[in-house]
């Protein structure tokens, strides 16, 4: 008799708690307000690059905020000046790896990370190992530039406001895009010059100028990896010479070049190396990934990151690394974060001003592609 009483009490208690429980409701998250410490981590997904991806990660707490699926051969992501819209150059085939090819610049709203239309572009965008400079954006946010390589070289100009292709601009013998204002961009040329292309207000080609020959593309080429502070682009050559290119809509001028290594360091094999080894910041200076593997090591990951004062052109410090680093990027704010991606899956985080290691992130297994920090104007 007593056991039946106990069971009745327990049953009554369970029924009561079940009635009080509020069932959970599954929802889809939205992305919050961006900060300069958000990282756009482009993932070429090398072993399955028909399904490349873009991760959005908050480096302050390491939280992944969401992801885009970006088709084949995604290199880098452009975004609106307010960081409310992402523009992604992508390639698709009607049957996965074959069939009709369609290249697009896809638009995604940041709040929902959802496609909001696209512009079909000429099906010849350059592809391969990811480079930041395969695309770019005009400073005022109106045009996105996409590099074509067939291997004839040109640039597709997309008017993102009107959502249409404005022009295809030939860049014979020169390629990659380095925006230099609202209506112009620079490209590197195989004959050791820089081509500066100017655009009309409708995005069509206005004209172009070529600098004098200032480097040798065979003996000591500038790498495609570069970073920009204001009107100055910083390029680094295979041997470790820094070239400062001042460039605006009105033209390009070359500053003096200087070396990141002493004669003895160069003799000991120290060279810039990695998939993207240059990052620049107005206060923190210039970061260059370096390895000690000698000539032809320009794609060998960095053993150390060297930090330089851009006023004095002197090395401030060396940042030690547990594992070699393939790619670096620095945030644009006054408390800069330097992100340094290993070959996978770890990304080291440093205080860009002090060089202190502040944490790490987990990247895709095969390592990150192009790293970009968010800029909000």
């Amino acid at each position: 008799m007593r056991i039946w009483t106990l069971l009745a009490i327990l049953t009554a208690a369970m029924t009561a708690s079940a009635e009080d429980l509020v069932p959970e409701l599954a929802v889809v998250e939205k992305v919050g307000k961006p900060t300069p410490h958000w990282l756009v981590l482009n993932d070429p997904n090398f072993l399955g690059y028909l399904d490349s991806k873009v991760y959005l990660i908050d480096t302050d707490d390491g939280r992944m905020l969401g992801m885009l699926s970006t088709g084949a051969w995604h290199s880098a992501t452009e975004f609106s000046p307010q960081f409310d819209m992402l523009y992604s150059p992508e390639t698709y085939y009607s049957r996965g790896n074959e069939g009709e090819r369609t290249d697009v610049l896809r638009f995604y709203d940041v709040e929902n990370l959802t496609a909001q239309g696209e512009v079909v572009i000429p099906p010849k965008r350059g592809a391969g190992a990811p480079h930041r400079a395969y695309s770019g954006r005009s400073d005022d946010g109106r045009f996105v530039y996409i590099v074509n390589m067939t291997p004839a070289m040109s640039v597709t100009v997309v008017d993102v406001g009107a959502r249409k292709v404005a022009a295809e601009v030939a860049t014979p013998g020169c390629t990659m895009v380095y925006p230099t204002g609202d209506r112009s961009f620079a490209s590197l040329c195989g004959n050791g010059t820089v081509l500066h292309t100017s655009l009309n207000d409708d995005g069509t080609r206005k004209g172009s100028n070529t600098t004098e020959v200032f480097f040798d593309a065979n003996t000591d080429p500038l790498t495609e990896k570069a970073d920009r502070i204001g009107d100055v682009w910083y390029f680094v050559s295979f041997s470790g010479r820094v070239y400062e290119l001042s460039a605006t809509d009105s033209g390009v001028s070359l500053g003096e070049s200087w070396s990141v290594s002493s004669r003895s360091e160069h003799g000991n094999g120290w060279r810039p190396g990695g998939a993207h080894f240059v990052a620049a910041h107005p206060q923190a200076g210039l970061f260059v990934g370096m390895n000690s593997q000698g000539d032809d090591s320009h794609k060998v990951s960095a053993e150390e990151i060297w930090q330089f004062d851009l006023e004095t052109r002197k090395r401030v410090r060396k940042l030690a690394l547990d594992e070699p680093v393939a790619r670096i990027a620095v945030s644009r704010d006054s408390a800069p974060v330097l992100a340094a991606a290993t070959e996978g899956p770890e990304i080291y985080l440093f205080d860009g001003l002090t060089g202190e290691r502040t944490g790490s992130l987990e990247a895709p297994l095969l390592g990150a592609g192009v790293l970009q920090f968010v800029e909000v104007q």
């Binding site: 090398f46 072993l47 291997p151 490209s187 593309a217 032809d296």
Partner: protein
């Protein structure tokens, strides 16, 4: 002669109406780039004699692979100079200059990509001797060289001996 002149004039006008100068120049440019990539290389064409070789062609250390960046086709159903079944060989490529350890001579190697299937995923090598940036296309292994093929989806890379390098 007058009839020939008339025919030429009609043909020229017809051609001009059917084509644009820009289109012609574009095609001519592409042709010249393609032509420059292969027949005008500074090489002495092999005359039926293949170089003596040693080493395992399915390793990154194999001498022909001094400037390669990709999956070795020999590990994917092809070989050092053939594409795997069902893929398409790229008509253009980047080139490297590699020293054959057997005879000590430098050879020009054409790294034609095999295309149309997704990445093979086996025997990845990245050696980069003499590799140059993307704006020097003929020497850049960062470029996806599945160009001029039905699909630009990259599967693997060959390493074809074009001939002796001439210094």
């Amino acid at each position: 002669m007058k009839a020939i002149d008339g025919w030429m004039a009609r043909s020229s006008r017809s051609l001009a109406q059917r084509s644009s100068r820009r289109g012609f120049l574009g095609k001519l440019g592409a042709l010249l780039v393609g032509a420059a990539a292969v027949p005008l290389l500074p090489v002495a064409r092999a005359s039926g004699v293949q170089p003596q070789e040693e080493g395992d062609p399915n390793t990154c250390e194999y001498w022909r692979h001094c400037a390669i960046d990709g999956f070795l086709c020999g590990c994917c159903g092809g070989s050092v100079n053939s594409c795997p079944p069902g893929t398409e060989i790229s008509p253009v490529s980047w080139i490297g200059t590699c020293t054959n350890p057997v005879d000590g001579k430098d050879y020009v190697i054409s790294y034609n990509d095999c295309c149309g299937k997704s990445g093979c995923g086996r025997c990845f090598c990245n050696t980069n001797e003499g590799d140059r940036p993307v704006y020097v296309p003929s020497k850049s292994n960062d470029i996806n060289w599945c160009l001029g093929t039905q699909s630009n989806i990259y599967h693997c890379s060959t390493a074809v001996v074009l001939g002796l390098a001439q210094s």
